[in-house]
């Protein structure tokens, strides 16, 4: 842990030297401040309430390389399966942290789908307006990302526009001779009355451990619509720490879907800050993990403004020695009257070695609100299983069918048909059956 911290500290000096003229810009001031936060706080430990159930040590013990060479190219046919098939999308593809124009499809016509780096060069005023304005300043992992922020996706949908096709962001790590750490930084701005659908994915092609510490800031302006899906199905050497913060203005509608099947370690910090009335927020998650995997979802919905609605549904299935963590926090501040906040977390443990720690947390300071949370841990209904068996469906398929039905609610807000199909296939694959149907 300390080792990696030291390494990041020396890397930051290298990074600063490498910036040349940019070191004086206001952006770099933010980076320096963020790095200071990290230096003071260090990596979170289990003593930190937010990390009570998740131990970072095993993934921090590797000697990660911080800066990648970035001269590796990959062939589209090798990675085709990581994209949505049979459908046209805008693509932002990064290989070892470097933008690959060869694999990507960007646009600047009616809206911007490009990279963080080119936005920095072309639109510095945007950077000043949005950079590091949404992420909570005190989170040290997001702070490291901010300190090293240089490349990632930038999407801006201008006023009144609807993106004509979804945007795919894929971050590849190629075969490496060493453990590596990746820190992409994304910025999504959906302006007034605009709409976009986004799919984010991190994929390691390396056999060695890869740590991705990604941070995404999302600004949903008045009456905008955003659908953001995270597909977390990396190989079992890869670890992912995802910090996503959303600021919602009035009448905006944001849906975030998190679908976690892969990775050795996943930690999602999803923060939603409501700054305007009559917003709607949907957060859905499906987690299906097995032996040796850990998946930790921390969500926060910060109701500061009256008349907002938030709705949260996380489903989890844990096999082998998997460990699941869920912490859903709903804050309702004074004056945030007429808030409706719902939260549900349902879990199934398939083995005795699997464990789940869940903490649905409500903090309410206003009286005229409707808030509820529900949380269950249980098993498959034996009667239902028997029913299926009595109709000739073998036990294994029957179980998978029931598990599939259990998890399927989490797909309710997936509006991209191709993605839905893909997720269905991934769920079926993860459950070890061939479910030859589409719901």
């Amino acid at each position: 842990m300390e080792q990696l911290k030291d390494k990041l500290e020396s890397s930051f000096i290298l990074f600063e030297n490498d910036l040349n003229g940019q070191a004086k810009t206001p952006i770099h001031k933010i980076r320096q401040k963020a790095f200071k936060t990290f230096e003071e706080k260090g990596f979170p430990t289990k003593r930190n309430e937010e990390w009570k159930y998740t131990n970072l040590n095993p993934i921090l013990k590797h000697d990660y390389r911080i800066f990648q060479k970035g001269d590796n190219a990959i062939d589209f046919k090798d990675v085709k399966r990581y994209f949505l098939s049979d459908m046209d999308t805008y693509k932002l593809v990064f290989v070892d942290g470097v933008f690959s124009s060869w694999l990507s499809e960007t646009t600047h016509d009616r809206f911007d789908v490009c990279t963080f780096n080119s936005m920095m060069a072309k639109n510095p005023q945007l950077l000043e307006e949005y950079f590091n304005k949404a992420l909570p300043a005190e989170e040290s992992l997001a702070a490291i990302n901010t300190a090293f922020a240089r490349e990632g996706a930038f999407i801006r949908i201008k006023k009144g526009q609807t993106a004509d096709k979804p945007v795919e962001m894929v971050f590849f790590t190629t075969r490496q001779d060493k453990e590596v750490m990746m820190q992409p930084r994304n910025l999504v701005v959906v302006e007034e009355n605009a709409e976009v659908q986004i799919v984010e994915r991190h994929q390691s092609l390396s056999e060695l451990p890869v740590l991705t510490n990604v941070a995404t800031e999302i600004f949903a302006h008045k009456a905008s619509r955003l659908f953001y899906y995270k597909v977390q199905n990396d190989n079992l050497q890869a670890s992912l720490i995802d910090s996503t913060s959303v600021i919602q203005q009035e009448k905006s509608n944001v849906t975030i879907g998190t679908f976690s099947f892969g990775n050795k370690f996943i930690r999602n910090n999803l923060n939603i800050f409501l700054q305007g009335e009559h917003t709607e927020t949907n957060m859905d998650g499906i987690t299906i993990i097995g032996d040796g995997q850990l998946c930790d979802h921390h969500t926060l919905v910060d109701h500061k403004i009256p008349n907002c609605l938030s709705n949260e549904l996380y489903k989890g299935i844990y096999d082998g020695s998997a460990h699941g963590v869920f912490n859903g926090k709903v804050m309702v501040h004074p004056h945030a009257q007429k808030t409706n906040a719902f939260q549900e977390n349902n879990n199934i443990l398939l083995t005795d070695k699997a464990s789940i720690d869940t903490k649905p947390q409500l903090e309410i300071y206003a009286d005229d609100v409707q808030c509820s949370h529900g949380c269950t841990i249980g098993q498959l209904d034996e009667d239902a299983l028997f029913y299926l068996q009595s109709r000739g469906i073998p036990e294994k398929e029957g179980k998978a069918l029931l598990l599939y039905a259990f998890a399927n609610d989490g797909l309710r807000n997936v509006k991209i048909q191709e993605l839905r199909k893909k997720l269905n296939r991934q769920i079926a694959h993860k459950l070890g059956v061939n479910l030859d149907f589409e719901l």
Partner: protein, 479 residues
């Protein structure tokens, strides 16, 4: 009457138990060190093992830090400014009520618990603890015919050292937490109860706690042992005078339910909550825990209306197969009160079951939190838990919070948790109005109905008192 006015009235009532009784008392100088502990121990004429036990706890306490994770704000008590021993003088053994200090009897009359009356009418055996010392245990002889031991813990240390030595600190170890360690070092009295094998205790056992003296803390220790296949229902009530300072109450309660035994433990907590501006009031930092052996059952019921700051988590360790833990709670906070309360259900044995029903009512500028842990161990096959925590908010400047922790390590576990937060609906009140029920009465009806699940669990005499207390805490809303 407008809602505002009504809330004003509902939340504006005064603490009715805030008198101070002038009883001469024997008080230790303030401060805490090994000398004081030896002094307490010597005062109580304790055997050497007990003194050593206290000193060990004190040394552990010195190394501990005050916990600050609870969702409460208060200025931390100065542990060196507290007097750790205050006893009403005339401490000789009393056999009948006639020998009790008449001043003290008046105190009880004011509290509405005339011991005399209790003895004659209700058939409730009582142990009364004022400041730190047990002053009266009623019905002792009658109970001893059945082999039941019900006395103050200092008496038990003298007369039943084997039992005390065997069980003291087994459920709440000395080093369990900051306040438990403090209590272990300085506890001055409390109740001790032992129900022998197969005996069903014929009456409710009850303890009444009162802090009387200024500048003191109350540290009582309760140890309750239900031997195999026995049953006992135990009641506990607390009050304190009105003072501007914050008094500390740090108690430890240990319950031991051996095979097939059942313990029902009810608390009506009404320490002085401070005045309308949040000045004064009792800090109530309590550790309560019970352990269930095979087929045993422990049921905690609490009505929390008092204290400026409450920090209390009655817990059950479900160690034996088929054991059952229950927790029913109503926590009312008003003005500037803060309550962080809940329970822990630790499932270790097979087929263990637990139920948690927690009802919070917050008014004024108060904050109420439910903090609970349900833990299913890897060997707890078929464990079952149901938790429900509801909060009712009255007025827009109070807060209600839930922090449920659920940790499961067994695939056969079934755990359900639900929580809701709401206020009394205008439509509900309108419905009552329509039927000729006034606004005030309507609120009474609704609050009463809201708490019913919990109040139903209380023994008869206590249910009446609890309802009265609810009425006082939220004056005018409960009849």
């Amino acid at each position: 009457m407008s809602e505002e006015q009504l809330l004003q009235e509902v939340t504006g009532s005064e603490y009715k138990y805030g008198f101070y009784t002038n009883i001469e008392s024997d008080k230790a100088p303030p401060g805490l060190n090994e000398e004081i502990i030896r002094f307490i121990s010597a005062k109580k004429n304790e055997p050497e093992w007990m003194t050593d036990w206290r000193l060990d706890a004190f040394r552990k306490w010195e190394k501990m830090k005050e916990p600050n994770w609870a969702n409460v704000n208060y200025s931390s008590p100065d542990f060196q400014a507290i007097s750790y021993y205050a006893a009403p003088k005339k401490k000789k053994q009393l056999d009948s009520l006639d020998e009790v200090d008449p001043e003290l009897l008046k105190t009880f009359e004011k509290l509405g618990i005339s011991l005399d009356e209790q003895k004659r009418l209700s058939g409730v055996a009582m142990d009364v603890v004022v400041d730190s010392v047990s002053v009266k245990t009623t019905f002792k002889e009658k109970l001893s015919e059945l082999g039941i031991i019900f006395c103050s813990i200092s008496e038990a240390i003298q007369e039943h050292p084997d039992l005390v030595r065997k069980y003291l600190g087994t459920v709440v170890p000395k080093s369990d937490n900051f306040y438990a360690a403090l209590n272990s070092a300085v506890f001055t009295d409390g109740s001790f109860c032992y129900i022998p094998k197969g005996v069903r205790c014929p009456m409710e056992l009850s303890t009444y706690f009162r802090i009387n003296e200024a500048g003191t803390g109350q540290f009582e220790r309760t140890l309750l042992i239900a031997d195999e296949a026995s049953y006992v229902s135990y009641l506990e009530g607390c009050t304190a005078p009105m003072r501007d300072e914050n008094q500390l109450h740090a108690a430890v309660v240990e319950l031991i339910a051996l095979d097939d035994a059942e313990i029902k433990y009810s608390t009506v907590q009404n320490w002085y909550p401070g005045d309308k501006n949040g000045k004064g009031g009792v800090y109530n930092f309590v550790t309560k825990r019970g352990i269930c052996e095979r087929n045993a059952k422990i049921s905690w019921t609490q009505v929390e209306t008092g204290s400026a700051v409450t920090w209390k988590y009655p817990s059950c360790i479900l160690k034996g197969e088929n054991s059952v833990g229950e927790f029913y709670s109503v926590a009312v906070t008003n003005n500037y009160q803060q309550a962080d309360t809940g329970t822990k259900m630790i499932h270790l044995g097979k087929n263990t079951k637990s139920t948690i029903i927690s009802k919070g009512i917050c008014a004024g500028k108060s904050n109420g939190s439910y903090r609970g842990l349900v833990k299913i161990g890897p060997r707890a096959e078929n464990a079952r838990n149901f938790s429900q925590c509801d909060s009712l908010l009255m007025g827009s400047s109070c807060g209600s919070h839930t922090f449920p922790y659920i940790e499961t390590k067994n695939k056969t576990a079934k755990v359900e948790h639900e929580a809701t937060t709401s206020k009394i609906g205008e439509d509900q009140i309108f419905y009552c109005n329509q039927r000729g029920i006034g606004e005030e009465e309507a609120i009474a009806l609704i609050v009463n109905g809201y708490c019913k699940d919990v109040l139903n669990q209380l023994p008869m005499e206590f249910a009446v008192e609890a309802q009265k207390l609810l009425a006082i805490s939220l004056e005018g809303s409960v009849g």
